[in-house]
Symmetry: C2
Subunit: 409 residues, 2 copies
Amino acid sequence: MMSSMQQDNQKKRDVFKVPASEIRQRTLNIQKELQQNNIDGFFILQRVDLFYFSGTAQNGFLYIPAEGEPVLFIRQYFPRARAESSLNTIIEIKSIKEIPALLNDIYGRIPGVLGFELDILPVNDFYFYRSLIQARDNVDGSPLILKSRMIKSQWEIRQMEKTAELTRQTFSYMQTIIQPGLSEMEFAGMAEIYARKLGHGGQIRTRHYQTEGYPWHVLSGKNSARIGLLDAVASGEGTSAAFPVGAGTKKLKRNEPIMVDMALVLNGYHLDETRMFAIDKMPQKAKDAAQAVIEIHNAVLDKAKPGIALGELFEYSVRTAESKGLATPYLGAPGHKVTFIGHGIGLEIVEPAFIAKNRKEPLEAGMTFALEPKMVFENEFAAGVESVFAVTETGSRLITKIPVEIFIC
Amino acid sequence: MMSSMQQDNQKKRDVFKVPASEIRQRTLNIQKELQQNNIDGFFILQRVDLFYFSGTAQNGFLYIPAEGEPVLFIRQYFPRARAESSLNTIIEIKSIKEIPALLNDIYGRIPGVLGFELDILPVNDFYFYRSLIQARDNVDGSPLILKSRMIKSQWEIRQMEKTAELTRQTFSYMQTIIQPGLSEMEFAGMAEIYARKLGHGGQIRTRHYQTEGYPWHVLSGKNSARIGLLDAVASGEGTSAAFPVGAGTKKLKRNEPIMVDMALVLNGYHLDETRMFAIDKMPQKAKDAAQAVIEIHNAVLDKAKPGIALGELFEYSVRTAESKGLATPYLGAPGHKVTFIGHGIGLEIVEPAFIAKNRKEPLEAGMTFALEPKMVFENEFAAGVESVFAVTETGSRLITKIPVEIFIC
């Protein structure tokens, strides 16, 4: 039997850490983008971007020059940042106001053209940092970060596979606990606790301030057809007018379709998956619809190869739905249809690229998507499926480990 | 026995709705601020602000002129916004690009000086809206919103009292389920499910993009002394380097101090409360510390009356800690002390005002605070307490219904 200290040591060895080689490659990738865009350096603030490029999410600021070594300034807590990040230069600071002088000391100058994450940085914060650092020009570097993050390394895909195993077990557990009388919120909560025991990180991360991430998008019966604020086929009931999305207080019933759309996260990497559930029996119309979206999902996956335009995959899914006579419910109630069937996924639950209408960009190896063809029969129910897949050199491969089928429990 | 339809009707009658009188008063309050600051109108985007001034959180945009009727533009979903909001003018739009023409139609002109929420609005979004609406001048109106929201109405305080009843029951439940071997995350999760059955809304809302709200800040034993990225006495272990705050995988043990800092939300209104727990027995040093913070908490409450400066309350708490010989652990480990003991709370978990160092502003009736004196014995444990109170005309009154004591279970 291990002593408590031995167990602690064992645990330490297993601690998740972003490898130094990953950080080096990510740095090189963004530096290439900086050079091509004539940006002298990037001042990275947002926690997820900071974690991506440094390996730590402690309170700090990362400066990546177009050439040379990045420097990580840590306000709090230095020992944790030091343990988590493989970067060579990590400097403890008391105040952000020390940074301009430090940049001058380290690089011999303040960058001329400085990149910021202007897609998420609030105006007041930007004004503050701009006047603090006093670069000649301040530009939006966020597309370069998102472009870098869009292509996942093999190591990142392995992280997502670990999350996929966690979500597989969680969906499997949900099949054993689902029962009439549980509210949507309660059922989702039971699944979440189970997932937390397996390492689920809790917080679902989103990038834009208007997007709220949560792991309890369980919509049952008519609730699954409820339109709402989300750019999704259905928003659900939610818990009040203050938070009118996702699971609500409705209790699950026998013989109704239940759409379980669950996002979970492990070591920062998300999965986002949907399966149709029913207790005892799913009405035939819902079952047919659930089967149809699975067929569309599989057809799209077959076509998802490097080089095909994202918009073409989207259109193909629409044509497939039309060929099944499902143009009306496909992608949402008329007047409220979404114009995408897939979104990139990784350290944030929604990130580029998008399998969406009119997108000309091609699929590239290393992209990871949550593919979610869904449909809504107005005032009746929704049917959908969602899996995460990775684009490979020759095609694509499911990361999701949950069987792509309907769960009758 | 009620039929299902009767139950549905019963439920409908109970549905939470912000009263029209509240919305009218809030509108008048912000309009007074707009007039005093020579702002012609406010373009409100952020979901919580939109909900505060309209009663709905659907996907839309609210324009409040300095004088006259506000107009709510709803992109999706109009029927829900219509049911939730008491505003007279609610217009369904397909695209935000319709708004300038609509403003011209309704008010006869585009506002000259237009307010935006520049404390949270990302730079790119601001540039888009600014060029869309083309006001002569665009200014930061967020301090006016936060000032309005800082003073709660009696109705709002009643909402927070409902949340307080939910949190009381949840803390009571936690005393019955706590046991050695549960991980911090698991214990917090069990409490969350219980709270969800009582109506807990799920999402803890924060304003700034760098602040992540979550309801599982359960830190046990040495974990409760772990410094991290939070502006708090302790950040905890978290679930990985990607999310290094809050509960972690450590299992609860007998005879150790456990700090349970739990935020819950009902109908949009948050509570944020902390109590010290122990299984079987709390070590005497921790018990003394937990008792000391309760005494500081109560002493501050006694002094919390309209007119006293926020900074004076803070300093008084520091003096009280010093008089107990607790200057070293109070407010955090040396070098990592926080400079506040309380924060405003309402539709967001942290909002103005702040009971913090050097704050000259006075306490005002209608302010609501989470008061959280805490201390850290470095590398040992943290002890803290946190209650929510409202400032009344003559003093202050606890909203929190959880007994202010140590829970030995």
